[in-house]
Symmetry: C2
């Protein structure tokens, strides 16, 4: 037996016990006649003491030669520490070592195994197995496990059944790119890895399974953006015989349970907002409502003077930065530079200081008098001491720019508090969105999403106005889940495919099995999917999903630890009936 | 709201309540003035009654036109049934229907949605979503969910952490064939789907995670045999700072918990048997010990006469079929034909009847007298009324043949009882097995398995005799789990790779990251993996894993429902830098 206790376990009550411990050497202080060593494992640290007078000679010698991250096993007696460490759960005791076995040596690790390590991200990714020894990474992985257990137990208690759907499925050109898997046994044919189990969960509803969930890996071959992974995990859910309200209630319940169970935070009924309202008030379909700075539409109070920048704009939008009047001119100029960065793309920014004496001082005083500016302050809700920032132009662009500015300022002001949780349902999403490239409407959610009752007619006349039974759950400015009530009528589904530009053959080839299934008594159904990586990182008070994934890939989709992807043997290609087709340039 | 109750819920105590129910029409009896309909959902059946005198006219008309598997919603009053059905949980009541909405119609399903359906396997697979509506299939899927929840909660309570390992990894030619995934962003390179998370779980041990598990899909591109799936699910587990005994105790605990929690069966300490003993007594490394018929080695008592078939044989093995003396000559001939089938391959079978009067009658009476046969009966443990069956020849072949005969006879005699559970640890597996094709030894388990202490030396002289710290958990004649204590010393691991014929470059290219990791303080570790599909089917009292998978593939690796695999678009191939290479024949 390698250990009788773990390294986070021993207390004063264990004093005088003989124990066996194993772990890694964390810190060694060698005074010659006395050696102290912190022994580490997943559960904590225990201080070992090797003493010339009380430990055997050969034990002292071996101990003197131990290096960082050696794996050792010791036997010894639990004794009371002379100088107790109240910051350490095992700080009342130490182990007087009598036997010492080196289970494995270690090279000096390429970075320190400490909470604040000296290793950069690339190095830590290459040696991820050493990174995982560090408390923050280990705690994140354990945290993720706790969240998934809580999800599973909650849903299971509510009669949901976790059902595994297949990973080797069929490629569908709809949506993002599929990863494909050549079939050796069926020459020239390919499986695809699922982007989500969407069609399978709908088939389970046709199959009467009623309440389904699955915590499942999904795959998207996208050009990676920062903090996106080619493989990611979803909490995938579907229910039959439900309306939108049933789904919102059920998964509001789950989210509330997680906030309470995991974070100890009690949250009341979640507020709801339509997509249109969210875009209007925050310029964003996933607004962070932990803080204000809502949009003030200044058109009426800013387009009546000679300032043509505003007069020619579709919208003039202002927000009030709390306490922003304390910014120096230089700081404001920096903010203006920030909105003018190509990633944001504003042409300029107008501002107005709200002085403590009730007066205003704006960058456009030439055009606007105190009365005008007072009305700006009214519309944006600015108070004395605030700074009003104003952007103008085309609605869609200005909303996006102002939304970015709002988030940036909130971040700088520390308004995005990791331990404050503000969930929000955003409902009534548009059914379709215009795609500039193909110059046609595409399904915003996916082609199985049902339009709001009675809006099918609008498809012909005002397609962009059709609203869907689609909803997102937003937490602290992040979309953590999204879903919809599905179409369960095969005629409406055909019409939808037709509208989205699928020929009958294409629809049949790609979704024929679903259309077939809908002929045999499909119940009304709908669902939701949560991005687990994102959900866990937000509950964990962070926003980088990579920190909550054991073995993440980098931004180029590579696993730098195992060095994948990699070339494969020629024979493998031959067996798969494939040839590489790489032009030499 | 589509329903106030589900269809398995209403009882006499609900009488007089107004309820809303939804579901599928299961059975309709139309007497004209009165229509009875069984409404079905996942939870059960509820009888609806439509009555000319008490239901609205239009409801009667709509009800008269309902077909099988229509999806309907009704409102009505719970009333007491005149003729109660005690076999049905809702059998005390029925619903007098006042409102009826047809939510969806259905074509006549291609097979009946009944426990005993008229649909063949192929048809049911093509319409799996309808098959799932049948009680047996649905119950199997719910059963699987219960098992996985029990596994997760048990391991989680024992401090195990479920950690997701990646699906897009690196191809290794060792073992079975990998499925590969071409990388669009890295031309000419491929990911591979994991055959198991073996190396990742070992890296987690190096990372100090200590107690890991994961219920995870694994992939093997094998030529499929009956009841094998290209994707399958494993309960994958690994522990650090453990010896074999710790692992056996931990997972014996898990299995005992499952048998109790899921099957209500209390099982004591699991018996253990070495691989050599299992092969000796049962001719099989996964013996079904629910019944006897152990091998009797008859060499000493059958090789002393003129019968050269036995005299020239390496082994002469007999088993006693309980009550087998009741077999007619014709039945025995059939058994002989059975062992002579090419799949079994015996050249013949000698038998000996044990008569009730204590006398014997054998097919080789010419050579053996009553005293000889009495000794056969002693060695095989045969009693009056039994039939001794004897096979002879080369040890390995005869053991395999006799093992097959033993299982076949037990099956016919009903000794393989689905509700009886006999777990067994088989330990001390050989480290290596001889491969006829490559004419060299291969790792029997995998190249990370550690030899028994002190046996490394034997590798040079008697490689076939080296035993490993490897173990299988056998349940009712099926291997449900297998694992080993791993090598954690990089020098021993190098030696092992070298012995198994890996060049240094190959070992580095394929397992370099693991060898690297082992340089930084790898702890002693080991683990086990359970085949979840198999485990669930055995706990469920069945042996066909396909019945416990929602969307299984057929023996050609095809999903006949969605028709996958399938060709992909030319543009997809171009993006992946691939060309098909199919010879036209």
């Amino acid at each position: 037996m390698y250990r009788t206790h773990n390294n986070g376990e021993l207390r004063a009550s264990n004093i005088n016990q003989e124990v066996t411990l194993s772990g890694w050497t964390q810190k060694i202080r060698n005074k010659g006649f006395m050696i102290w060593l912190d022994l580490r494992d997943r559960y904590g640290l225990t201080q070992l003491i090797f003493d010339e007078e009380r430990s055997p000679k050969e034990v002292m010698q071996t101990a003197a030669n131990l290096g960082r991250e050696f794996v050792i096993q010791i036997k010894g007696t639990v004794i009371e520490r002379e100088s107790k460490n109240p910051a350490m759960p095992t700080g009342d005791i130490e182990i007087l070592v009598k036997e010492l076995i080196v289970l494995n040596e270690s090279l000096t690790p390429p970075f320190t195994i400490e909470d604040d390590t000296d290793g950069g991200e690339d190095l830590r990714m290459k040696y991820r197995y050493l990174d995982i020894r560090r408390n923050p990474v280990r705690e994140n992985l354990i945290f993720r496990h706790k969240v998934t257990m809580a999800v599973r137990n909650y849903l299971s208690a509510k009669d949901f059944v976790e059902i595994e759907t297949p990973y080797l499925i069929k490629s569908t050109p709809e949506g993002a790119r599929d990863f494909v898997v050549p079939s050796r046994m069926n020459a020239g044919q390919f499986y695809a890895l699922p982007q989500s189990p969407q069609t399978f969960k709908q088939l389970l509803m046709v199959g009467g399974m009623d309440k389904y969930f699955q915590i499942v890996k999904c795959f998207r071959d996208e050009d990676l953006r920062a903090d996106r992974q080619p493989e990611f995990t979803q909490i995938d859910c579907e229910m039959a015989f439900v309306e939108q309200e049933d789904i919102l209630q059920t998964f509001e319940g789950l989210t509330r349970h997680l906030l309470k169970e995991i974070n100890g935070v009690e949250v009341g009924e979640f507020p709801r907002m339509t997509y249109d309202e969210a875009m209007y008030r925050y310029g964003n379909d996933k607004p962070d409502i932990r803080f204000g700075m809502e949009f003030g539409y200044l058109n009426e109070v800013a387009q009546h003077k000679e300032f043509n920048v505003f007069n020619n704009a579709e919208v003039v939008i202002g927000i009030a930065i709390p306490g922003g009047n304390s910014y120096t001119r230089k700081e404001i100029d920096k903010l203006i530079d920030w909105v003018k960065r190509p990633q944001i793309g504003a042409l300029g920014m107008v501002y107005c200081r709200c002085n403590d004496d009730g007066s205003y001082k704006s960058s456009v005083d030439k055009f606007y008098d105190q009365e005008d500016l007072a009305r700006w302050s009214e519309v944006t809700g600015a108070k004395s001491g605030d700074l009003i920032c104003v952007l103008s132009g085309d609605t869609e662009k200005v909303r996006a720019q102002m939304s970015a500015l709002r988030m940036e300022v909130a971040e700088r002001l520390g308004l995005r508090k990791a331990d404050e949780f503000a969930p929000l349902w955003v409902v009534d999403f548009p059914l379709l969105e215009w795609d500039e490239d193909t110059e046609r409407f595409h399904a915003m959610h996916h082609p199985f999403t049902s339009p709001k009752p009675g809006q099918m007619e609008l498809l012909k006349t005002n397609p962009g106005d059709v609203k869907a039974n689609a909803y997102d759950l937003v937490l602290n400015g992040n979309e953590i889940g999204g879903g919809s009530i599905r179409i369960h009528d095969k005629d409406i589904q055909s019409k939808m495919f037709d509208y989205l530009g699928f020929t009958e053959e294409e629809a049949k080839a790609q979704f024929g099995f679903l259309m077939d299934a809908f002929q045999y008594g499909a119940p009304p159904h709908g669902g939701i999917a949560f991005g687990l990586d994102r959900l866990v990182s937000i509950l964990g008070g962070q926003e980088t999903i990579r920190d909550f994934i054991a073995f993440p890939k980098n931004n180029a989709g590579r696993d730098v630890m195992i060095d994948a992807p990699a070339p494969i043997d020629k024979e493998q290609l031959v067996e798969l009936n494939l040839k590489l087709d790489i032009s030499e340039e």
